[in-house]
């Protein structure tokens, strides 16, 4: 049994659906497995599996212009890999992006290869002036996702929600 929280993944997925999200682009990562399977099993959701996360910026941009609400699921290293697309497609053209980013490399991280990205993620979000918030407790998941989507649409800009270990991972510390 994976220690990734099924209950909290379900809360995130239901909140995305409640916001009208109909297309999700994703690149698999451990914390996102349940979310990706939920999207895969949902006949009302279009799941686009990517080769690299930056493609998701283009896909979300096209979907938005055509009137379809979308979200991007990625690890923070996928966010790092997407930055040119975020700046020179989404920000240049005022495209709303709802980015859900698993925040690897924080306190409690056991995988040595994840530890460098955690230290730069929030600094990069600030440098790019991308509004962000964390999801770390189930009781605020729905309202924060809804508010993030509201700001993305009203500002026509990318926003980020950082999925933290406390929410996604159930193993004892």
């Amino acid at each position: 049994m994976s220690p990734v929280s099924t209950i909290n993944s379900r809360a995130i997925y239901d909140a995305l659906k409640a916001c009208g999200i109909r297309l999700i682009s994703a690149l698999p990562e451990t914390w996102l497995v349940h979310l990706i399977r939920m999207a895969e099993d949902d006949p009302d959701m279009t799941l686009v599996r990517l080769a690299k996360e930056e493609e998701g910026v283009g896909i979300s941009a096209g979907a938005h212009l055509a009137g379809v609400k979308s979200a991007m699921l990625m690890q923070n290293h996928g966010f790092l890999a997407s930055i040119n697309g975020i700046v020179s497609c989404a920000q240049l053209y005022r495209i709303p992006l709802l980015m859900l980013i698993s925040y690897r490399g924080e306190f409690g991280e056991r995988d040595p290869w994840q530890t460098e990205g955690g230290g730069v993620t929030e600094d990069l979000l600030h440098a790019l002036r991308i509004p962000s918030s964390c999801l770390d407790r189930p009781d605020h998941v729905a309202v924060r996702i809804a508010k993030a989507q509201t700001l993305a649409l009203s500002s026509n800009k990318p926003v980020a929600l950082l999925l933290r270990r406390d929410l996604m991972w159930e193993e004892a510390p």
């Binding site: 297309l23 930056e54 998701g56 240049l92």
Partner: protein, 186 residues
Amino acid sequence: MTRLDALRAIYLQLADRIVVTIMGAVAAELQSIGHRPNFFYLQHAMGLASSMGLGIALAKPHRQVIVLDGDGSVLMNLGGLTTLARYRPRNLTHVVFDNESLLSVGGFPTATSTGSDLAGIAAAAGVPRTARVATIDAFTQAFDEAIAAKDLTTIVAKVEAVGPSAYVTDLSLLENRFQFQRYLRS
């Protein structure tokens, strides 16, 4: 074949279809023939025009989407070909103008100049229909067949490495973006 002549040859078929182009010569030349509200020019984010086309094609499955791409851009997002092939939008035609160079930044040769075959790469990625053309007649025939086939097609059109004298046009990026959105949602 010049890219401008190739664009002129298919312009009437672009008139009522959703068109996404890359930056640089393709955008400037298509605008020089005549801008339309159903044309969007992705003036940066190299590599993502085909990803935008995929997003639109999935959102608008009953509309034909034409992506006008280039060798330099495709080489920056080869993985995107595998994503295109995986979802196989039957309403998407992917034209790659291959001038074997990064023309707008000084004409430095790309890897297609030393033999990398983008039609072969697209086919191997799983794109069901591909074509490799070097003349106007072959290009228009391949384009007509792609539209008629109603299946994902990548056409690699070898073109001369010549372009417009200027790349900046009087169409602002955001004007284009909101006009295009209004067109797509109307």
